[in-house]
Symmetry: C2
Subunit: 195 residues, 2 copies
DNA sequence: CAAAAAGCTGAGTGATTACTCAATCAATAC
DNA sequence: GTATTGATTGAGTAATCACTCAGCTTTTTG
């Protein structure tokens, strides 16, 4: 394994466990068993380590999503699989996801952050995937009629919030994930109810 | 206004704008037009300022929720009003909420944080409010049958996620908030659909 | 009014820490 | 075998920043 990967691994461990700010580059170097200097040979700044972890994780996530879309028979199935990725991350207490949930927002909120564009670009890509999935579901009859754009945003919000809550507050028993999916299914049900 | 409140106001401004870690106590003192020393006369540590802001905001939130429950005619109406509080916070770009959304998670994630109990206690209170609202809705027929505990968690997750997304990414146009509420209403519909 | 208490100041401090750099080592090229 | 390039080291540095404290001012109390 490359030195660079060692650094990323150690940083992911420490950042997710103790938080980005509470972790020093000294600690990262120690855990990765490299000198502190080399961190700054591979990364311009400490923040760049965080960003690289984020971009890598997100891009991997987008790739899985693409695979899911190709394999799922219906739009609703694709959505279920997308939701499932989140559950898996929660169950395995995936460090990179925990890291995102804990420490990411700060740099995003600043409207003048130089990373905002890169980040929002990836988020937009995910959003478009979801919109596609919803439209597909509406075509194949597995998802009811609704405006795909806002619905995609709602779904994204729900899963972000749920992942956050589940990872920060407590483990999530099966009935919670079942309830979440049931909630979505009812909201997206193609067969209109009698109001 | 008291000096202490001046400090809280300045801290809320700066923390929400630039982030907790990127803000120094020196800056807070300057904006509040007080000496740096007095910050530590009123607060034991910098973190205590953040916690006080959080506790105040959360307690105010819980009070509004109580009022809402007393006034709303049905469970579903109470839920709608609860959702509405979030929309108002987003629309007004409420600083204390932005602050929570941005900087809070870190101290929560550590299982051994001394604040974890206080925080989770308040969260549990909110959760119980929601459970009560759902049960009430099921009794008065405005909400369909579902397990109240997990459903409350799902609703809480959804609103946390939505507030986060709306505040960090972009303004939220009316059709988004409408879509969110429509999503909830369909998921909670008392009239079962034909599967 | 005197004394005590509370409120307030801002220069100072000690510890931390992201980042640098001159020097060494390893590998590749010629 | 020598030169060049890239990889790696770790001691050093400059800056930051949360927090302290001795003393001043204002308010309260008896």
């Amino acid at each position: 394994m490359s030195r660079k990967q060692d650094i990323i691994d150690a940083a992911t461990d420490l950042f997710s466990q103790n938080g980005y700010h509470a972790t020093s580059t000294h600690q990262v170097a120690k855990l990765a068993e490299v000198s502190e200097g080399i961190i700054f040979y591979y990364f311009k700044t400490k923040e760049d380590i965080l960003l690289e972890i984020f971009y890598d994780s997100f891009d991997t996530f987008l790739e899985s999503l693409q695979r899911i879309m190709d394999e799922a028979p219906t739009g609703l199935d694709a959505l279920r699989a997308w939701v499932g990725i989140h559950f898996e991350a929660i169950d395995s207490r995936a460090k990179n996801i925990l890291l995102l949930v804990r420490d990411f927002p700060a740099s995003l909120a600043n409207e003048d952050s130089p990373h905002r564009e890169n980040i929002l670009g990836r988020v937009a890509k995910l959003h478009q995937f979801l919109v596609k999935i919803i439209k597909r579901g509406q075509k194949d009859g597995s998802i009811g009629s609704c405006d795909p754009e806002p619905t995609a945003l709602v779904l994204r919000s729900l899963l972000i919030g749920y992942t956050r809550v589940a990872m920060l507050e407590n483990p999530h028993p099966p009935e919670f994930s079942k309830a979440l999916w049931g909630f979505c299914r009812r909201a997206l049900n193609p067969n209109p109810s009698q109001a």
